[in-house]
Amino acid sequence: MKLTIGWLYPELMSTYGDRGNIFVLTKRCEWRKIKVDTKTIDFKTKSAEIETCDMIFGGGAQDRQQGILVNDLREKKGPVLKKMFDRGIPGLFVCGAPQLLGHYYMTGEGKKLEGLGIFDMVSKHFGKSKPRCIGNTIGKLPDGKTIVGFENHGGRTYLGKGVKPFAKIIKGCGNNGEDGTEGAVYKNCIATYSHGPFLPKNPHIADWLIAKALEIKYKKKIPLKPLDDTLEWQAHEAVLRRFT
């Protein structure tokens, strides 16, 4: 078995340890004898190449870097990504992704930046009237399991009817600090405000993404061989203990 993971603009969308997610997905596949090919998606990448990917990952970008790539991402990559996500291709977007994937992002200066419009949500920066959300986060998934992360964002995101919240926020700000939601899920695609290496301490999410990718690619459910995740769960639980 083999999976191709498409990594969006790794040089520009890698702010703080984002590649940890790629490392975790890759190793957890390799340890199960599933081959992984990581494909860089950047300015030169054609739609046909993007369509060979079985999973998509997007990290966080600094403002200047986001400015460099946003038009290319929206116009040349957006439509094909939307088609793939509608087909069930799983994706993980961390950090500022909720701001990029929604309909628009209103900056602190009141400028409206058009997003990819794949997720039914909008984001807004309230300037100095609302502080930046920085800190460790804990969320609860619909199945009762927890997720842990670290958020660092200035904008606030509000979900529409076309997406479900990824988790209920227990500790931290989450999407907006008002409605208790954290991140969003569209089909098999996850957006979270957790930034950087989200998967290392959330191996269940990594395996969920891998399982979905295999299911879509091979058109049947393929059970994943269990791995020894003692260390990952110890690190996960250490965060739960310290921050609840």
């Binding site: 520009l12 403002d63 670290f150 260390l231």
Partner: protein, 423 residues
């Protein structure tokens, strides 16, 4: 000196009093509290203390500040000059004021300055020389993004005129860009040694797109991160001519980053009129600053401590350990207190994958589990320990224990091993 008003005199008296009390009773707060008290009594104290000082040298940048300051101090003191510096690394306004209060009659004041604090310091103090070492991603939760810091620096430095010399690392494209925009005198240093080029670009880079036009820069070679021989194929922004290079001076200590620190210090010394042979002679007397390639001996075991607090610094520490003749176990100590950054995401930008061959890995600190998970995905299986002293029994004769700690972890390690955190 103009007559000081009562408020200023009180600020100085109380600041000095705190300094003396702190020293007498070994409270360990002498590096910041005297300045903190003085600033609360007289917020403009830094301006008042510095206005009659002719020679003030500031050192700013992500990595290399403490070592560069100590190198400059070594060279100037070797000339027999009266020098004061913030040796303990207290580099916010209270640390700088504290250093001033401790010794008010020096001729030369050398201060390392925190990246985020620099613009505020420049409002009160016009330095004779300011050194910019490098800019890398560091403590995102505290400093924000590299570009944000660079923009604030450019605004703050643009106010300086030709009374000030700005000494800049030419190999860092973003700093060279800042240099190209200044009214102050600008001098550059850089490496010229292709034998030190990395085989390929590291992941932890920040400025690889042109700061002027936004197009991808090309690199004939990189020394580490985005420091190297860069060029923009699209616009008129070109690398500046260097005033000092690695042909001119050699570093007294291991590590490629220490070559940069040496060149920066030498260029400061040249600017102050010291000749090259005196600079070289002085550098042979250099001893590392606390926790920066510092060697200590505990229970007959040799220990080297390399502060490693961000991806670029950590990569260079690992490279230094690998290149060293000294072999032995390696202990990584990761904390997440405010001086370390609460966010430990950055460990995933460190290239542990290239260093699987070290004899033995140990991890410790508040975030030891995060580090252990990071290493697991690099196929390295460390032993988790709780006290540094647990490792000592694993150090063989003739071996060195390498300790790579974050900032607060470095202080904890020194406290455990030698009984004191800083000096």
């Amino acid at each position: 000196m103009r007559v000081m008003n009562l408020r200023t005199r009180l600020a100085i008296i109380f600041g000095k009093l705190v300094s003396i009390l702190s020293k007498t009773f070994a409270l360990g707060a002498g590096a910041t509290w005297p300045g903190e008290i003085a600033l609360r009594i007289q917020p403009r104290i830094l301006r008042i203390l510095s206005e009659n000082v002719k020679h003030t040298i500031l050192v700013a940048g992500t990595n290399g500040k403490t070592t560069t300051v100590k190198m400059i101090e070594t060279i100037l003191a070797h000339q027999g000059w009266m020098v004061t510096h913030n040796a303990s690394g207290a580099n916010l306004d209270n640390g700088i004021v504290s250093a001033f209060l401790k010794k008010m009659k020096s001729t030369y004041y050398i201060f390392e300055v925190d990246e985020a604090t620099l613009p505020n310091i420049l409002k009160d103090l016009t330095p004779e020389i300011i050194v910019l070492t490098n800019l890398f991603r560091d403590q995102l939760d505290r400093y924000g993004e590299v570009d944000t810091i660079a923009e604030k620096w450019l605004v703050a430095l643009a106010g300086l005129d030709r009374q000030t010399t700005v000494i800049i690392n030419a190999d860092d494209p973003h700093l060279a860009f800042i240099g190209s925009k200044l009214a102050a005198k600008v001098k550059y240093f850089g490496l010229e040694d292709p034998s030190l080029f990395l085989p390929k670009m590291q992941h932890a880079t920040d400025t690889i797109y042109c700061p002027n036009c936004g197009v991808r820069l090309t690199f004939a070679g990189v020394y580490f991160s985005h420091l190297g021989k860069w060029a923009c194929g699209n616009c008129s922004f070109v690398p500046p001519k260097e005033d000092v290079t690695s042909h001119d001076f050699t570093s007294p200590i291991e590590g490629i980053y220490n070559i940069y620190n040496t060149l920066a210090s030498a260029l400061v010394a040249q600017t102050l009129g010291i000749n090259n042979s005196d600079i070289r002679d002085a550098l042979t007397h250099f001893t590392p600053a606390f926790g920066r390639m510092e060697t200590i001996v505990v229970q007959g075991k040799r220990i080297k401590i390399l502060l490693s607090k961000n991806p670029t610094g950590f990569n260079e520490s690992l490279r230094t350990v690998a290149a060293s003749a000294d072999k032995g176990p390696i202990l990584l100590v990761l904390n997440d207190r405010i001086p370390d950054g609460r966010d430990v995401s950055w460990i995933w930008d460190v290239d542990f994958e290239h260093y699987r061959n070290f004899r033995n890995y140990f991890v410790s600190g508040e975030r030891a589990l995060d580090m252990a998970v990071r290493l697991k995905y690099a196929e390295i299986h460390p032993t988790i320990i709780h006290a540094v002293t647990e490792v000592l029994s694993h150090v063989e004769k003739n071996e060195v224990l390498w300790i790579l700690p974050t900032y607060s972890a470095m202080l904890d390690v020194r406290k455990q091993l030698i009984g004191r955190k800083i000096l």
